[in-house]
Amino acid sequence: MKRQIIISLVGLAILGIAPLCGVSDYITGVLTMICFYAVFAMSWDLLFGYAGEVNFGPSFLIGLGAYGAGMADSIYGWPVPLCIAAGTLAALVGGLVLAVPALRLRGPYFGLITLVAVLLLQDAIVVFAGTTGGEIGLSVPDVLSVSATVNFYYAFGLMALAGVVIFTVANSPFGLILQAGGQDPVEAQALGFNIVKHKIVAFMLSALFSGLAGAMLVFYLGTASVSAMVDIAVGIQVIIAAVLGGRRTIIGPVLGAAFLIGAGEILRPLGQLSGFVVAAFALGVILVFPNGLLGLLQNRRRA
């Protein structure tokens, strides 16, 4: 555990000074996306790894945050921080509406509800194309910053904050109860813990950071669109990142996100096949090393 923390602090420090060492804006942009996806993947891992619930709709929360913030800006012209707060609030409210009834369900039923939530959000965006921009997307007039480096530090700061909070929560007594509830709900309940309440809190935490990251992503990309924030493919990317990096570690998903975004960029010349290579690699990893990249690194050190 101590080792994990030290390694991740060192990793954070290297990542944190990288943009100051004269790398190109392109690399800084890739690192920025890694930070955003790391937040998505960590938020997802809290629910999957600890609470044992597959949320197929991380992009529901991301999309609510993104569109909440984007619409607050393009329609009401609020200042950027207020828009981001509005987006986060939208994700929290949406998450609450979704989670409270859905978390009474278990396993595949919960997964399906989250999947349907994404489809419904997607439909809603297309139906209300007048205010949401529909399939083309919603462009926002404001940006976080025009400097790639400053944008990176916003994303980096968000990742560090989310990482610390989620890691602390996951390794607290709260996280233990969450795990117990995920692995043996009957026994955990017999011990007197309210599993559903714990799961709802975990889900809301996940919604908070997913929504916040989604809202900030809008002002980084300058647009809110279905293909970048709501599509099931986005959710699949988040899931791949978390499982590939190593579930139930919080740190692993960051590795997974870095790998996923990095490999996507490096393999870009392959075109459509790059998606295949990444997915095949991820499948291979979870079949052979179910504990993911982080588990692989730790095993090697132990051996």
Binding site: P108, I113, L115, A233, Q272, A280, P290
Partner: protein, 291 residues
């Protein structure tokens, strides 16, 4: 006239939905696997049918045969490459196997989707219709192909019912879904039963994919939505319940047809999704499910 039109169109599309979702529920019932690559299997069959039938000039029936074969091959590939390694892996804790099957088949679906759009095309295509022309049913002009789709779907459902209830192998399938341990105790190799289930799954999904591709067109981009629809229908009817799946397919099919005709075709998917959410909240086991 509109009412009759809705009844006829709804009947055909619902029969096709039932066929499309049946394989999914069968595999879940027999081996407890939720195959999130289901949409990918359907679209693979449709794409191969289109390629052989149209591009290679194999004709509608040649294409359909190739499509069904592709469905079987993809089903077995799903089982041998993804599902079985996860079921047999010692590194995966038992409690998490279900989650791994879900994520594994999801990754497999992404792989199939990218391969399909790379090898074939990303633009939506339509599989050649098996029969042309129209027939007049009580004054409603209906394509023969639609009649054929309904007939083939129901024939497949009927054959499956016969297989499960009247043959030894089918009864073993049923037994595996009720009590797998009991089945192994009476000396049946569970692996064989699973193989049979995946074979039937491949045939059903291949057939459904080919027919869907001819009726609604197909594209690798439809894969997630198709998996979602099949999942939704199956859960609505009750996971693992065959008759529940058929009832749910009809509810969803008619809801969609009604919305498309009376409200707006672009909203057709929404009422069924809302119904699904309501059912999950108030009766999570679905119409005929057992928990």
């Amino acid at each position: 006239m509109l009412a009759l039109q809705i009844i006829i169109d709804g009947f055909a599309i619902s029969a096709l939905y039932a066929l499309g979702a049946l394989g999914f529920t069968l595999i879940f019932g027999v081996s407890g696997v939720l195959n999130l690559a289901h949409g990918a299997v359907l679209v693979t069959a449709a794409m191969v049918a289109w390629y052989v039938g149209t591009t290679l000039h194999g004709g509608a029936f040649g294409g359909a045969a190739a499509g069904i074969l592709a469905g079987i091959v993809t089903a077995f590939a799903t089982y041998f490459i993804v599902v079985r390694p996860i079921e047999r892996s010692r590194a995966i804790p038992n409690a998490e196997r279900e989650l791994f099957v879900l994520t594994g088949t999801l990754l497999w679906a992404v792989m199939l989707q990218t391969i399909l759009s790379y090898v074939f095309t990303t633009t939506p295509i339509t599989v050649q219709e098996l029969v042309g022309g129209t027939v007049n049913i009580l004054g409603v002009k209906t394509p023969w192909n639609e009649v054929l789709i309904a007939a083939v779907s129901w024939a497949a459902l009927g054959l499956l019912w016969l297989l499960v209830n009247r043959t030894r192998a089918g009864k073993q399938l049923l037994a595996a879904s009720i009590n797998p341990r009991g089945l192994t105790l009476v000396g049946v190799e569970l692996g064989q039963v699973h193989l049979l289930a995946w074979l039937i799954y491949g045939i059903l999904a291949g057939l459904a994919g080919v027919l869907l591709g001819g009726f609604l067109g197909t594209s690798s981009a439809y894969i997630p939505a198709l998996t979602g629809s099949a999942f939704a229908i199956v859960v609505l009817g009750g996971l693992g319940s065959v008759s529940g799946t058929i009832i749910a397919a009809y509810v969803v099919g008619y809801l969609e047809t009604l919305t498309a005709y009376l409200v707006d075709p672009s909203l057709r998917a929404i009422p069924a999704l809302v119904l699904l959410v309501l059912v999950l909240y108030f009766r999570p086991q679905g119409f005929l499910g057992r928990r």
